[in-house]
């Protein structure tokens, strides 16, 4: 892994809190990302992902704590010159063409890619002469990608980059991002899609309710899932509360279909049999990343990383002030 000159990490957040009025979007975040890492920030909607990216890009100021990009304040032009960004909620002049926009953005950076290379990387070669307003949702996302990479930046920040893309377009697009990462660039992307994080990142930071609740490799995150995923059907009605005393998480009960995670599935099932619950089509399988994610962020709150006390606010929205 290349070490950054001057020793400063690409990203450094220390004790960062962010309030939008009364709403606390980030509740004390510490994060350090070194050059060359590909990091996925994973979390449900409203977890604080967009806020975290906005702070790293200097688009928002922290209420408390410090944010550094390449060792500088993120709004410093020297820091901004070393990163490209793809935002979730930004617009583009609709009556400029893809080529004109890429040329404009290339002028912001000292050592830009060639125009055709940037457009090609984003898979928009046949759209270079089209105005941005005529592009589909997925093509527009790829245009934003072209604008983010055309300056040949050392670090890329991508906020929910695959929103609005169909499955095929998404795979091709993820390949483009992975390719950029393989060239030694730092990539930080937010997503709420597990397989995206799994396929792309070598480190996953799970964020929920404004806090980092896990920070590990995809393998490590999966291993935190509470053992096994148990699924069965039952004609009997089960109250979710009746499972509360058992060592289970991620409980879902709907239409006679019951599913939960447990580190000790055998005694749990023994207890259910003892209660005389009819169990049909029983499946017990290994937990996947999605299960791990549910276990970490589920309604019962974090199941690992220690006790964090009660949460004062029930919901947090990224754009609460808009």
């Amino acid at each position: 892994m290349p070490t950054p000159a001057g020793g400063a990490p690409v990203v450094e957040m220390a004790g960062v809190r962010k309030l939008y009025g009364e709403v606390e979007a980030l509740r004390g975040v510490d994060l350090r990302i070194e050059a060359g890492e590909v990091v996925a920030v994973l979390g449900p909607n409203g977890a604080g992902k967009t806020t975290a990216i906005s702070l790293l890009l200097g688009l928002r100021a922290p209420t408390e704590g410090t944010v550094r990009l390449f060792g500088r304040p993120p709004e410093d032009r020297r820091a901004r010159t070393r990163r490209g960004a793809m935002l979730q909620e930004s617009g583009v002049p609709t009556n400029l063409t893809v080529g004109e926009l890429v040329d404009m953005f290339r002028s912001f950076y000292p050592a830009s890619l060639r125009r055709d290379d940037a457009i090609g990387m984003a898979g928009l070669a046949d759209k270079a002469k089209s105005q941005a307003g005529t592009l589909s949702g997925g093509q527009l996302q790829r245009l934003y990608f072209a604008l983010a990479v055309c300056g040949n930046p050392e670090a890329l920040f991508l906020d929910e980059p695959t929103v609005g893309m169909d499955v095929a377009a998404r795979h091709a697009f993820l390949d483009s991002i992975a390719e950029y990462g393989r060239q030694g660039r730092t990539i930080v992307l937010t997503t709420h899609v597990m397989d995206e994080a799994d396929a792309l990142a070598d480190r996953i930071v799970v964020i929920a309710k404004g806090r980092i609740i896990a920070d590990d490799t995809p393998q490590g995150i999966k291993s935190r899932a509470a053992g096994k995923r148990v699924r069965f059907r039952t004609p009997d009605s089960i109250e979710p509360g009746s499972l509360a005393a058992l060592p289970v998480t991620g409980v879902s009960i709907s239409g006679g279909e019951v599913s939960f995670l447990s580190g000790a599935p055998e005694p749990v099932l023994a207890e259910l049999f003892r209660r005389g619950i009819a169990i049909e089509e029983l499946e017990v399988g290994g937990a996947d990343l999605e299960d791990a994610f549910l276990a970490l962020t589920g309604p019962d709150g974090p199941t690992c990383g220690g006790s964090r006390g009660p949460d004062p606010a029930a919901t947090v929205t990224d754009e609460a002030t808009r």
Partner: protein, 267 residues
């Protein structure tokens, strides 16, 4: 992908400013040109108004050595450039804010000052274009003949004196919501222009308008055009002083509105 340049090694110097400014101004000019609702109005409306108000009595003598046609040409030259600043700079800025293009630009290394300067350069370019189009109609349709020094003097005064209207547009763009900015700009500017004797000349304005005219920025701006053709009603230094004052006031208001918006959306 092996042919891609390697990422630059520290220290990274910011990109040079001149190509940034040039490409940004070019992009803004294209955006304006490709928005006919703005560009057509900016270029054609002053000509149409001149044809309606100035052409019928174009050769009637008005002041010693100045025909009514020449006087109205100067009035609409002021109207043309000032309105291009209000719409070409102000309303397009409000639209960019409404479409969250300003968020995109903030995510790049482009300095905010270059972004604004490029917009001003593009708007002034269109102001010059609207002047040339108006002059052509005045020469061809109204038979107006002025010395080259007069044409040049009027053009330079109009471009230089347009600065307070850039700040005015800046203020409107950030003080109002993006959807109401065009209407607010239209209303305020039209009233200002009318009350300054740009459509109906000063000696024909209703009394109460004639009384407030000398307090309008458009009035002092038009004085520069009228001075170029030898028909001012006050010394040029007075007009310039008023325009400098208005520039300071509008810039202060624009900065206040801009910072208020930045605190809300980027704080």
């Amino acid at each position: 992908m092996s042919e891609l340049a390697r990422p630059p090694v520290e220290p990274v110097l910011p990109a040079p400013v001149w190509p940034m400014l040039r490409l940004q101004a070019l992009a803004q000019a294209r955006i304006f040109w490709r928005t006919p609702a703005l560009s057509i109005v900016s270029l054609l409306l002053p000509i149409m108004l001149f044809v309606f108000f100035g052409l019928p009595n174009a050769s009637t003598p008005y002041l010693p050595g100045v025909t009514l046609g020449t006087y109205m040409l100067a009035s609409f030259a002021a109207y043309a450039v000032a309105s291009t600043m209000v719409f070409g700079f102000g309303v397009t800025l409000a639209l960019a804010r409404g479409q969250r293009i300003d968020v995109l630009m903030r995510s790049t290394p482009l300095p905010g000052s270059i972004y604004m300067l490029a917009r001003a350069v593009a708007a002034l370019g269109f102001g010059l274009l609207s002047l040339v189009a108006l002059y052509a109609v005045a020469i061809v349709a109204a038979g107006i003949r002025l010395g080259p020094d007069v044409w040049i003097e009027m053009t330079l005064w109009m471009l230089l004196g347009a600065i307070p209207f850039i700040f005015f547009g800046f203020f409107i763009a950030y003080a109002t919501s993006p959807s109401s900015a065009p209407a607010v700009a239209n209303m305020v500017f039209l009233v200002m222009a009318f009350a300054s004797g740009l459509f109906v000349r000063l000696d024909q304005l209703p009394d109460f308008l004639a009384t407030i005219a000398p307090y309008m920025p458009t009035y002092h701006y038009a004085q520069l055009a009228w001075a170029s053709i030898g028909a001012p009603s006050q010394p040029v230094s007075t007009s310039v002083a008023w325009l400098v004052g208005y520039s300071v006031v509008f810039f202060a208001l624009a900065l206040w509105a801009y910072r208020r918006d930045a605190r809300r959306r980027f704080g």
